[in-house]
Every structure is written in structure tokens, then in C-alpha cells.
Symmetry: C2
Subunit: 338 residues, 2 copies
């Protein structure tokens, strides 16, 4: 009764129905010239009628290529990665490649599992944006498939855009507005040494003769609760910083909300800047000052690079649009300056 117990239709079934050899069926289905048009059409019709679906496992086995690209997404919840995925998907479609996605919940173990699964699936290439595993892990993999990273300049193959410039812009923007006490919200478990935002934060402080104060550094773990705790610490600080540069837009928006519930107004009492420019950042109130990254383009280039590597070519570093400071309503002059 249930339909799914039905046996799969194979090429042999078609061959039998069409009274030809299996090899003729493959060639016909692939549009090979070596088969008579009449035969080809007949076979096509029969395949259609029988509801034939080719078996990728078998094909992969003999062709030693699955036609698949594995995409390891850190966090589906974050709309930041959606744009990247879109770029990847559209570009992949142009080259007849299919994308399979695996979510890692931003956990190292899940990232490993995802990579492993894709290797098992014999993907033609692996795309790993914002990898969490140490580079060491990927180096040791010695995998038979090329891996292209996004935003990891220490990887063998990678597509990256300027990771510091946007943050410098944000910080300088805050300084220009007159802020001198600026807080910084770090992301969850940043890999040591790879914290460009923090770098930019310190650099701009230094440029302006300001001291680095560890009390103004807050750790965001990705949850709303954590933003709430940061707000708590923030309001009890004295002097309270007049501006905060947050890890990403989500944390910035959550922080603004947490401050509002504590009776503080943004940007009147405190300026908040984010990073990523997700779609919603324009829509919240106050609209968020942030940095826009060319995620879509990064995704496209990642696929192109991957394909070049697949063909044994060296990927060319594309000239991507630079990250761009987007000034909106969540930043303003500090209170005292008014």
C-alpha cells in the first residue's frame, strides 16, 4: 500500500523495456551522438514513463565525482550566512553543481562531523566559511577534495575580504563622534590570534592615545541572555562607556533591547554599532550603524575558486568590494558633548 516500498527503476529496466542494451540507455540519456535520434527519443519517453531517477551513488562510484559541493554553514540562525549561501548557490547552479548544506551550530565537533560526512559523500569540493576548527585540522586532512575557506587567510585556498578595514571604520566613526570610552563585545570563543575586530578596536584606541581597558571587553556567547548580562555589566560600570562596538548585528540589536528595558536610550545615552549589516538592521529602531560585507560576492567567488582548484588551476584572488561602513541611527555624539 505505501508507495515507498516500490523497487527503484534502474537503467536495466529501461533497457529491457526499450529492448536495447543498458549502455545504449546511458548514452541516450546523456544525449550522446552515438545513438540514433529515434532510439534516443524512445528511451527518453520510456524513462519518463517509468519515473526513472538516476542513482547518484552508482554514478559517483564510477565517475569518481559526485557533482556535489559541500557547504558547511556555522549557524543557520544567523541571516548573515544566508547571503553567503545565496551567492554560493546561484554561482554553483551556473556550473551544474549542486550544493548540500550542513549546519554546525557553531560547534567544532559538528564542523568535523560535517566535513567528514561530505568527504564520505565524495563531494567535488568543500566550502567552509568561518571555520571554527583550527587550521591545523584542515591541513592534516590531506583530503582528496579541495577545500576553500571563506575568511580564513591562513588556509591554503581561501576567499577573503578585508577583515579589519570595516572595523577600523566603525571605531574611527565612534571616535569622530567624540567617544572616548568605547566598549567592545567579543564573539563566542574566538580562535586565538584570529580576532581582527579586536585588533581594529585596539589599534584605533592606540591611534588616539586611549588606553585599552579590559573592563570594557564583554563576551557574547550568541544567546539573547548573554546580551542581557552584558547590558547589566555595562550599566553598572562607572564611568559607563559612551559607545559599544558589538561583534555582530544580532548581539548589537539584543544589546540595544536590553539597554532599553533598563531605561537607557540608544544613541542618546549610549551609541551601539554592530557588524554584518543583516537585513533587519535597517528595520530595527533605532536603525543600526554597522559594517556591510559583500557576502553574496564572497559566496560567488568561493565557488569560482573551488572550481579552479578542482581543475588543477590556482585560484585567482578576486577584487571584491570593500566592507562598507553604514552609518544609521544607533550611533551619535556622546551625552556629555551635547
Amino acid at each position: 500500500m505505501s508507495s515507498f516500498v516500490r523497487k527503484r527503476v534502474t537503467i536495466k529496466d529501461i533497457a529491457q523495456a526499450a529492448d536495447v542494451a543498458p549502455s545504449t540507455v546511458t548514452r541516450a540519456l546523456q544525449g550522446s551522438v552515438r545513438v540514433r535520434p529515434a532510439t534516443r527519443e524512445r528511451i527518453g519517453a520510456i524513462a519518463q514513463e517509468l519515473g526513472y531517477v538516476p542513482n547518484r551513488a552508482a554514478r559517483t562510484l564510477v565517475k569518481r565525482s559526485s557533482g556535489l559541493i559541500g557547504l558547511v554553514i556555522p549557524d543557520m540562525t544567523n541571516p548573515f550566512f544566508a547571503a553567503l549561501a545565496r551567492g554560493i548557490e546561484t554561482e554553483a547552479a551556473k556550473h551544474d553543481m549542486r550544493i548540500v548544506i550542513n549546519d554546525t551550530l557553531a560547534q567544532e565537533s559538528a564542523e568535523r562531523a560535517a566535513v567528514r560526512l561530505f568527504l564520505e559523500l565524495d563531494v567535488d569540493g568543500l566550502l567552509v566559511p568561518m571555520a571554527r576548527c583550527p587550521q591545523d585540522y584542515y591541513d592534516k586532512l590531506a583530503s582528496p577534495v579541495p577545500i576553500v575557506h571563506v575568511n580564513r587567510p591562513d588556509a591554503r585556498y581561501h576567499v577573503s575580504c578585508d577583515r579589519v578595514g570595516g572595523s577600523l571604520d566603525i571605531m574611527r566613526h565612534l571616535i569622530e563622534l567624540g567617544h572616548r570610552q568605547i566598549g567592545f563585545v567579543r564573539g563566542p570563543t574566538p580562535p586565538p590570534g584570529r580576532e581582527p575586530k579586536m585588533q581594529a578596536y585596539r589599534q584605533v584606541l592606540m591611534e588616539n592615545g586611549l588606553d585599552y581597558n579590559p573592563d570594557l571587553i564583554f563576551a557574547f556567547d550568541g544567546t539573547i541572555k548573554s546580551a542581557d548580562r552584558i547590558a547589566d555589566r555595562l550599566v553598572h560600570l562607572s564611568p559607563m562607556p559612551s559607545a559599544v562596538f558589538a561583534w555582530n548585528d544580532i548581539s548589537a540589536i539584543a544589546l540595544i533591547h536590553a539597554l532599553h528595558t533598563r531605561g537607557l536610550s540608544v544613541p542618546k545615552d549610549l551609541s551601539i554599532a554592530g557588524h554584518d549589516d543583516i537585513e533587519l538592521s535597517r528595520l530595527v529602531n533605532p536603525a543600526l550603524t554597522t559594517v556591510a560585507w559583500p557576502m553574496y560576492e564572497l559566496g560567488q567567488h568561493a565557488v569560482r575558486s573551488l572550481l579552479r582548484v578542482t581543475q588543477g588551476l590556482e585560484p585567482q584572488q578576486p577584487d571584491l568590494p570593500k566592507p562598507k561602513l553604514v552609518v544609521r541611527a544607533s550611533t551619535g555624539s556622546p551625552k556629555a558633548a551635547r
Copy 2:
């Protein structure tokens, strides 16, 4: 030089290195009892050392099962589906199943392509939340793998929660607040006949002796621009509705923003309610009145149902938490009533 041209390590390589037959290697790697512990360990060590990764294509071929579940996600951009995916992933992990995801950009053609890809991959089951293709398409598929839908009660196998109740609650909430002119924002190309929110909208109007006015129906196509256009139409309406029930939270948030830029205040001038209760809805200003759906649980149950069907059992309809009205700050009494 490039690492990815290296030949794959196969079971035969291990067999040769360990001086046993390939079959022994498989059995050892699967932890079969029929192989001596010493041999098993030796083989395990060699496999490790050689960096062996099993070939899923080959395994799938002979076992006629890939251990994969295909998940067709309509729109990765929408955080609404992230919760669902999370539920699905955690539950699947419990049963040693891996999830592969494909994004359809909410397009019918892409949905077909995704389903097709998964069939080619020989997935053990297919999960299709909020399918866009007509049910007819799935019925005709006669696929050899079970397909479980989410929120499509007319499908052979499906997991659904009450699709009308929450919308009724929203509408009654607006009525209770005193609203009589209520607008409705439809989703992008709703499949005919499957528009429970619209149903609820009309039902509550009728319950309260209010006329259905087509001028108060707006079409949202998923883009921010579209929300902007709706706002435009809205403000030029006279009388302007005092409340709007929007298709989802994204459209509601975008609409609120568009109204703000036109000098209108929510909920003072206009009440807006959404649907889905995405995480950000709590964080925007004003916080959004909306309906929370048990997406995570739906995802879990979807996997459980799928596995039951795989085993030839009838899935049991779970008792899911009901959708829940969440009243926040974006709805209030109409202006005139103040």
C-alpha cells in the same frame, strides 16, 4: 603539490597493509564479533593512520540505504525555519541519521530540483516543510522513499500543528482591543485553498459582524520593498485600518519600519501583529505581538514520523504544544478609542 589529487584510501589498501582480506576489514571496522580483537585493533590503527574515509556511494549502493535524510528548506533567510531545522537535526542525530539540506528560495522549480537531488542521492527519507509544489506533484512521485511534510494536512504523511488557532487568537486579540478596520497581509503566492491565516481572518471578521473588504488585503512578496509598498497603500487608505495582521514577523517588522519612516507610530497610530515569533521579534522596538509555533518540536516529530514510516509503521500523530499568542507592544487600542 596540491593535496587533493591524492588517491582515495580504500578498504583494499587497508587490507593489503594489514595482510588480510577486504571483507575482514569491513567487519573489523563495523565492530563485528566475527573478527579477533587483536586483528580488529590492528586494522583500526592502520585505517586511522592511512586516513581512511569510507565511501558512502559504494556503501549506499550495496546497502540500498544512504543513512541520509533530505531536508528541503524553503527559505534559509527566514529564522523561522532555523528552529525547525534545529529540531530536525537534534532528533536525527539521536538516530544516527545525517541531514542534508537544500534551500529552495521559496521557488517551486527549486523545490522540485531539491527533491529530485535527494531522490538521486537515495536518501532514506525526505522532509518537506511548507512545501510549495502542489500535493499532486508529491502524490505522483511514487517515490521509493517516504516523504513527510510539515504543515500540510492533505499529504499522506505529515506533521502539523493547529494552523488556524493562533491566527484566530491574533484576530480576536485585535478585536478585543477595539479594532474594527483590520488589514491583512498575505504571504507570497499562497497555494490556493491552503491559506489558514486568511481563513482565520475572515472567520473572525464574520464572527463580529464585520465586512470583508478586499481593499484591506495586501500582498507581501518577501522583500522589504514590498513591505514598503504596502505601507504606501496603507497610509493612503481612508479610512486607514487601525490594525494589520501580517503574514509573518519579517513582514510585520518591515511594515512597522516603513510606517515609522512615514511618520506613523506603532501601536499609537496603527497596531501591527505578526506571526512566527522569531527571536528578533522580542528585540525590535516596539516588540512584536505575534504567534509562537512549536517549530522545534515539529521538527523533532517530523523525524520520528519519518523513521516510523521507514520501518513500515504508521506514524502516530503527536500531541504538540498549541500555537500561542504572544502579546507584546506592537498592538494596542485604536486611536479613536483613547
